[in-house]
């Protein structure tokens, strides 16, 4: 093996690529060649280093120095300073963590990284990098020292629960599948991460694919299956190709395939792609999709553990659940159970997004409060605005107001508060967000993604959306709120699958916590957050307008008139309330009434 004195990891996740990560990578390689260092410094591509919003970024090992906000032109300076002179190029250090140490990639001390431990640290396209971080040690331990029952017991003791959101104890699921009669048995990894605002699984698949592969192999041993599928959504092409490469490398090393590590255990994996249907995240729909059918759910029971893929016993878990397993086996159930609350053990990844200062991926121990996540890890609300609500659990989750900021983040507490854990999307909203509009947005999503098989979901979500559309258009009537409540209850109790049962949640939770906003829309015909187009008016403040004509030139419908250097006026009858004039005005002269 070739020896390099330094390794540079360049983050190439979609965000960094959009800001020119490949150009930075090319420039870096050119500079290294020009300086004759290309044999001493190895450049690797990876996903996720930690400063998602400050890319393009690179990480230099063994020093563990994290540079961010790079342009191709900066590479000459970095190569000269860091690699020729051996000094840290301070001006490119990641601003929020300008300390050079082990914890660099963890922006705050509140985080604990188990699932994300290798993301950004290793080359995901090289299995040896993973093995160097104790990779496949857990699989070896399981195959040589433990019986399948031991494995299930260990996972049971760790308290690991399904990270896809429902929180069913993982070991229980495994033991059902193990006890189930019928062969062959199948193992599925649900990587159909469809919740808007959630990208935890993508980062794990792109940054540490072998953790998932190893976790699946261990589960397969515990249950007794020899064939597994990873069902990944088509929106994640990089994840799919990284996984396929990882599976190939594992096969070549004898870590997948026949007689793994010389034992009589055999297991192989295949990646299957979705085709853009949200409902395929539901387990029975997902299995229909793998079978090559329309992704429509079916009633349970029979549960997949009894009759799943092709009618055979099937175990299905989420990406994050599998990624936790190797660490539990290696470090022990007690270590894992020492984190979290009484009923929710371990850590959970969240994709923190919305109006918060530091957006990105985080991993925190369960039992942390929402306040700690939003204000300590996330750095508080952007632009010094006020906190209004946090939405957890994706489109089937709920919105929680500031009274719930000190709520412990665990499965039971979130459900009791009217939201849910979900797969880990966490969207923070500031006080300029209209909660009726947000409920309408989520209904639009679930309505569009409803597969149409059962009536409550297909028709019910459409009726709710119609009512919300009417309320937002200023045509809400007395009795609408009661009708929404009744419909929501009926859809929740009568729908076939989780999508329909959860669909009314955004409406129920906003009605519970932000009822006054609905009332303002319906009875006063006002949108308190000034979002709903039909209920607001754009105006130009005569004293602030300088007559620069920027607004008039940008107005898509020509609703703004006025002489150059004269005060401009918006014609409310023509205006479509797109808000472009307010965004482009340099003098804050455009206001919403």
């Amino acid at each position: 093996m070739k020896f390099y004195r330094s390794h540079v990891l360049v983050c190439i996740d979609p965000e960094c690529r959009s800001k020119g990560a490949y150009e930075v990578l090319d420039a870096l390689q050119d500079e290294l060649v020009a300086n004759g260092l290309i044999d001493e410094v190895q450049v690797l591509e990876t996903s996720r280093i930690g400063g998602c919003d400050q890319g393009p970024e690179i990480m230099v090992y063994p020093e563990g120095v994290h540079y961010a906000n790079l342009t191709p032109d900066d590479m000459a300076f970095i190569v000269e300073e860091h690699f020729l002179k051996g000094r840290i190029a301070k001006k490119f250090l990641l601003p929020i963590t300008s300390v050079v140490d082990e914890e660099l990639s963890a922006p705050t001390p509140k985080e604990i990284r188990i699932v994300l431990r290798n993301c950004g640290k290793i080359d995901p396209q090289n299995i040896e990098d993973y093995i160097a971080e104790d990779g496949y040690m857990a699989l070896a331990k399981v195959l040589t020292e433990m019986t399948p029952e031991d494995v299930i017991d260990e996972v049971m003791k760790s308290g690991l629960r399904g990270r896809g959101g429902a929180g069913f104890p993982t070991a229980k699921k495994w033991s059902f599948a193990r006890a189930s009669a019928g062969t062959p048995k199948y193992l599925i990894c649900n990587a159909d991460e469809g919740d808007p605002g959630a990208f935890m699984n993508r980062r794990v698949l792109e940054g540490d694919p072998h953790a998932v592969i190893e976790g699946m192999a261990i589960a397969a041993y515990a249950i007794g299956c020899s064939q597994g599928y990873i069902y990944c959504r088509a929106e994640y092409p990089i994840a799919v190709s990284t996984l396929r490469l990882g599976i190939q490398q594992a096969r070549e090393m004898g870590l997948l395939g026949q007689n793994i590590l010389g034992t009589d255990f055999s297991f192989d994996l295949e990646v299957r792609m979705g085709a853009g249907a949200f409902v395929c995240g539901e387990e029975t729909a997902l299995m229909a999709s793998i079978e090559g059918k329309r992704g429509e759910p079916r009633p349970r029971p029979p549960f997949p553990a009894v009759s799943g893929l092709w009618g055979k016993p099937t175990n299905i878990n989420n990406v994050e659940t599998y990624a936790n397993v190797p660490q539990i086996i290696l470090k022990g159930a007690d270590w894992y159970a020492s984190m979290g609350t009484e009923k929710s053990k371990g850590t959970k990844t969240f994709a923190l997004a919305g109006d918060v200062k530091h957006t990105g991926l985080i991993e925190v121990p369960l039992g942390i409060t929402l306040r700690e996540i939003i204000f300590d890890v996330g750095g508080g609300i952007k632009d010094n605005k006020g906190f209004k609500a946090v939405q957890t659990g994706g489109p089937m989750g709920g919105c929680l107001p500031s009274e719930y900021l000190d709520l412990s983040v665990d499965y039971e507490a979130l459900t009791a508060a009217g939201s849910m854990m979900g797969s880990g999307g966490m969207v923070v909203m500031d006080d300029e967000t209209c909660m009726v509009d947000i409920a309408r947005f989520f209904m639009e999503f679930t309505q569009d993604e409803s597969c149409g098989k059962c009536t409550p979901c297909r028709v019910g979500t459409r009726r709710i959306l119609d009512i919300l559309d009417r309320i937002c258009a200023g045509k809400g009537e007395d009795g609408d709120i009661e009708l929404l409540e009744q419909l929501s209850q009926e859809i929740r109790t009568n729908s076939l699958c989780g999508l329909g049962q959860g669909a009314p949640n955004p409406v129920i939770s906003t009605l519970k916590h932000f009822r006054h906003e609905y009332e303002a829309h319906i009875y006063e015909k006002k949108c308190p957050a000034k979002v709903c187009k039909a209920l607001i008016r754009y105006e130009i403040l005569p004293e602030a307008c300088t007559g620069c004509t920027v607004c008039a030139r940008n107005c898509p419908v020509g609703a703004i008139t006025g002489e150059r250097r004269g005060v401009h006026v918006i014609d409310s009858d023509i205006c479509v309330r797109c808000g472009i004039c307010q965004q482009v005005c340099n003098f804050n002269a455009v206001v919403v009434r």
């Binding site: 979609p14 965000e15 690529r17 959009s18 800001k19 998602c52 919003d53 991460e193 469809g194 919740d195 808007p196 605002g197 959630a198 990208f199 993508r202 088509a234 929106e235 994640y236 299957r272 792609m273 979705g274 085709a275 853009g276 249907a277 949200f278 999709s289 793998i290 079978e291 090559g292 059918k293 329309r294 992704g295 429509e296 092709w310 994709a351 997004a353 919305g354 109006d355 957006t359 990105g360 939405q391 999307g425 969207v427 909203m429 967000t433 947000i438 947005f441 999503f445 597969c451 940008n554 898509p556 419908v557 479509v576 797109c578 808000g579 472009i580 965004q583 482009v584």
Partner: protein, 172 residues
């Protein structure tokens, strides 16, 4: 076996022997896979860009599954299209963060600039406008995806630049 009875329109890809060879390669590589329908259709969509009704019948015949099953799959999943798209696609991310971050205003601007609505293609066959689900680049909201590249923090006044980036790509 179901015979292909409908007349194949002149401009259908099935009339192009090269494309038929591509289709056959894809089908033959996957035909013995359990649940092959999805795999084949996914690859056809990637390779050819759309799956017409005659193509669906062709796939069904070759895979020995009912045409209804193939058509059912094509019409169920949003990734499959039955009509050709423009040379370039601009997708507006409708994830929560992007929606809150101003995707609706952006679409308004795009309609004004290109003169077509979402789901339509410009008359010159160059650009198709679409909305898509969250692409997972939420900290960059609002996001548009041009072909395969992600553009972040696109404000309405920056949208013409996005279109220019397509035009420069063509000139290269």
């Amino acid at each position: 076996m179901v015979k292909n009875t409908t007349k194949i329109p002149e401009n259908d890809p099935l009339n192009n022997p090269e494309i038929v060879a591509d289709i056959d390669t894809i089908i033959n590589a996957n035909r013995y896979l359990p649940g092959a329908t999805m795999v084949v259709l996914n690859e056809l969509q990637n390779k050819i860009g759309y799956i017409t009704e005659p193509m669906q019948q062709y796939v069904a015949n070759k895979l020995h599954v009912p045409v209804s099953q193939v058509h059912g799959v094509v019409s169920f999943y949003s990734f499959f299209t039955t009509k050709p798209r423009g040379k370039h696609t601009i997708k507006f991310c409708m994830g929560t963060a992007c929606y809150v971050g101003g995707t609706p205003q952006l679409i308004e601007k795009a309609k004004q600039v290109l003169g077509v609505d979402v789901g339509e293609t410009t008359p010159d066959g160059e650009i198709t406008l679409e909305v898509c689900r969250c692409v997972g680049a939420c900290s960059q909201a609002p996001v548009v995806v041009v072909d395969d590249s992600v553009h972040g923090r696109v404000r309405p006044n920056k949208f013409p630049q996005v279109i220019r980036s397509i035009q420069t790509k063509q000139n290269q």
